[in-house]
């Protein structure tokens, strides 16, 4: 696995996602009138840009071979809690958002602390936090009457810079910065070293536990941020917000060439993976294919991608 983190060696398996997007893009462009319109593509990217926040910290974890199944719940919970703070506690917008982000970061840190302190499988712990947080979400959600949130909260997702929603610009900026940093900076390259072999990384003096804790914190924080924006976009809380998001994100990361064993994956390809999934459901919506068929397609894509990737890599490793 060591050869794959170096930037000099290009792994064809890492770029399947670009090919997939191209093929799908061409297919949809030539077979439908509505796909290649500015409005459609813009709303597609806008949708992705909000969910994208959740994938930032998640990619860090995947690269290290850890996983956080709680992000979907956190995504839904954060939006609900901001609404709760505003509607029930009558807080101002900014303090509510800061409070929720702080709380989620604290929860993420706690998960990271549990994982590193007791050396337990992160999937087991986050399976627990996933259930826990979605339960809290349901309780909070039902404790106040459903209302459309005040205008200043609704405006968060609608804020535009130069005619483009700020989330899209933020996504572009974050992708570029993090992609460069993860390839070049010694700090973020440590993630790959840990993912390849945590034991070796430890021997070389990398503070594995500290980095893991920070990444879990970041993962919870970014997914909470994404959730706050998503709730702002749909103008009210929805109990289904973020449901199954963790699986979508896993699919996105894996389609983007990440391995659950760690050591592979990048923020750019995770974002491309999300765009691919969004495009897939967009195309199906255009063709009025049964929405449940999308699940089937998503499942097939996930399995086929991973299978092809494993085949390619085992052949190369000999």
């Amino acid at each position: 696995m060591n050869t794959k983190c170096g930037r000099r060696r290009i792994n064809p398996g890492d770029y399947t996602v670009i090919g997939l997007i191209l093929v799908l893009f061409l297919l949809l462009t030539f077979t439908s009138d509505t796909f290649l319109t500015y409005d459609n593509l813009y709303s597609l990217i806008y949708g992705v840009s909000i969910q994208f926040f959740a994938v930032i910290g998640f990619t860090f974890l995947i690269v290290m071979g850890e996983i956080d199944l709680g992000i979907g719940s956190m995504y839904g919970f954060s939006g609900t809690l901001v609404g709760f703070c505003i509607c029930v506690w009558k807080w101002k917008l900014l303090p509510s958002i800061l409070f929720v982000l702080l709380l989620s970061a604290l929860m993420g840190y706690l998960v990271g602390w549990i994982v590193t302190k007791f050396r337990v499988n992160s999937m087991m712990v986050t399976l627990g936090t996933m259930t826990l947080i979605s339960g809290i979400n349901a309780v909070v959600f039902n404790s106040f009457t459903a209302v459309t949130y005040p205008a200043d909260y609704r405006a968060v997702a609608k804020f535009k810079i130069g005619g483009i929603h700020w989330t899209i610009l933020a996504m572009l900026l974050i992708v570029i910065v993090l992609e460069v940093l993860m390839r070049r900076s010694p700090g973020l390259k440590k993630l790959y070293y840990i993912g390849n072999s945590a034991e070796t990384a430890k021997l070389y003096g990398i503070k594995v536990d500290k980095i893991k804790r920070l990444s879990f914190t970041l993962s919870a924080l970014t997914s909470a941020l994404g959730g706050v924006i998503a709730t702002s976009r749909i103008t009210h809380s929805d109990i289904l917000t973020g449901k199954g998001l963790e699986f979508t994100l896993i699919t996105a990361c894996v389609v983007g060439g990440a391995s659950l064993l760690g050591g592979r994956g990048s923020i750019l390809r995770a974002a491309l993976g999300m765009i691919f999934i969004a495009m897939l459901s967009n195309g199906m919506a255009i063709y009025r294919i049964d929405p449940f068929m999308q699940q089937v397609a998503l499942g097939v894509v996930l399995v086929v991608c991973v299978f092809a990737d494993v085949r390619m890599n085992t052949k190369k490793l000999g």
Binding site: I114, F118, R119, V120, N121, M123, M124, V125, L127, G128, T129, M130, T131, L132, I133, S134, G135, I136, A138, V139, N142, F247, I250, T251, V254, L260, L261, D290, F292, M293, Q294, Q295, V296, A297, L298, G299, V300, L302, V303, V306, F307, V310, R311, T314
Partner: protein
């Protein structure tokens, strides 16, 4: 006596067993409705299918894997069985076809994981999506309306009791005992533990890891399908929500019961105790009229605590051996 206590303490299901027992006593003492026959029957109808699925899941958990497609398999098998029955196919053929479909899905999972080297999380999420999507497509089409009118003898199979227990409960008990015997006493069964404990050395010791993996996935699929068939016999209809989101409950139950996703731990007692605990909790919330939304808060919280406790004990053991 002391030896007995140590043995008891060393059971994987120790913590969960105490929790379940305590909870059972609380329910028995404080709720006047707990021992009513209706409550007892509905409790069985909840526990039995879940425990049957948990048997297959626990086999995989012991091997350090899991199967997230069980809920979808349960749905697909139930719908298939309902379809065949409503078209007048004999009961035995319908049931065997449904279980065969479950085994087929299990085989796909097993081949993907064992031969294709795909991680179980991805492979089974994939099949979960695929078959849940198929379920939803069938049940939102016109076909869904026609899935009724099952033969009386099939419904009797789900609704009749023998010595106060449903048939499905008897099936559950029989399966639990048989599988417990297999994994504790036979060569093949013990090999599951070795594979879960250390997969790479199990390969070098000559255990047939791939074959065992595939067989366990097939068993898991078959049992999930059986649970689906039993559920539609009990509820007299194939529902769109059959088995939806059940996979996480089952996995949580297995880990709560004393299994570990790292493999090598757990047995059928754990599977049963974990399932019983989660179901009793649900029952308790109903009986005491507590907000049912709090249920997942409690389950999640307890799961985290159990995982921490498990990790702490494991760490202490490893420290004592000087391995950390």
């Amino acid at each position: 006596m002391k030896k007995f206590l140590t043995q008891l303490r060393n059971q994987d299901a120790f913590f969960a067993g105490i929790l379940t027992l305590a909870f059972f006593l609380i329910l028995a003492v404080f709720s006047p409705y707990f021992f009513l026959q209706n409550n007892f029957l509905s409790l069985q109808a909840v526990i039995a299918p879940r425990a049957i699925i948990a048997i297959g899941m626990m086999l995989l958990v012991i091997m350090g894997m899991f199967d997230l497609s069980v809920g979808s398999v349960m749905g697909v098998a139930g719908i298939l069985c309902g379809y065949l029955l409503s078209r007048g196919v004999p009961i035995s053929v319908s049931v065997i076809a449904a279980i065969g479909a479950g085994m087929l899905v299990g085989l796909i999972n097993g081949l993907l994981v064992a031969v294709g080297n795909v991680s179980p999380l991805i492979a089974t999420i994939g099949t979960m999506y695929i078959f849940r999507g198929i379920c939803e497509m069938i049940m939102t089409s016109d076909l869904a309306m026609s899935l009724t009118g099952f033969p009386q003898s099939f419904l009797a199979f789900g609704g009749n009791t023998l010595y106060g227990l449903y048939f499905m409960t008897w099936i559950m008990i029989a399966l639990l005992l048989v599988v417990q015997f297999i994994i504790k006493r036979t060569y093949w069964g013990r090999s599951i533990y070795y594979i879960g404990g250390n997969p790479s050395s199990a390969v070098s010791l000559g255990f047939k890891v791939k074959k065992t993996t595939i067989i366990c996935f097939v068993i898991s699929g078959a049992l999930a399908a059986l649970a689906g068939v039993l559920s539609i016999a009990r509820f007299q209809s194939a529902s769109r929500y059959l088995g939806q989101d059940i996979q996480m409950d089952i996995l949580i139950a297995c880990i709560l019961g004393g299994g570990s996703l790292l493999g090598g731990k757990g047995d059928m007692l754990c599977a049963f105790v974990g399932t019983a605990f989660v179901s009793l909790l649900q029952n308790g919330f109903n009986l005491f009229e507590i907000n049912p939304l709090l249920k997942s808060v409690v389950v999640g919280g307890i799961l985290v605590i159990v995982v921490i406790m498990d990790g702490y004990i494991h760490l202490k053991k490893m420290r004592a051996l000087g391995k950390v």
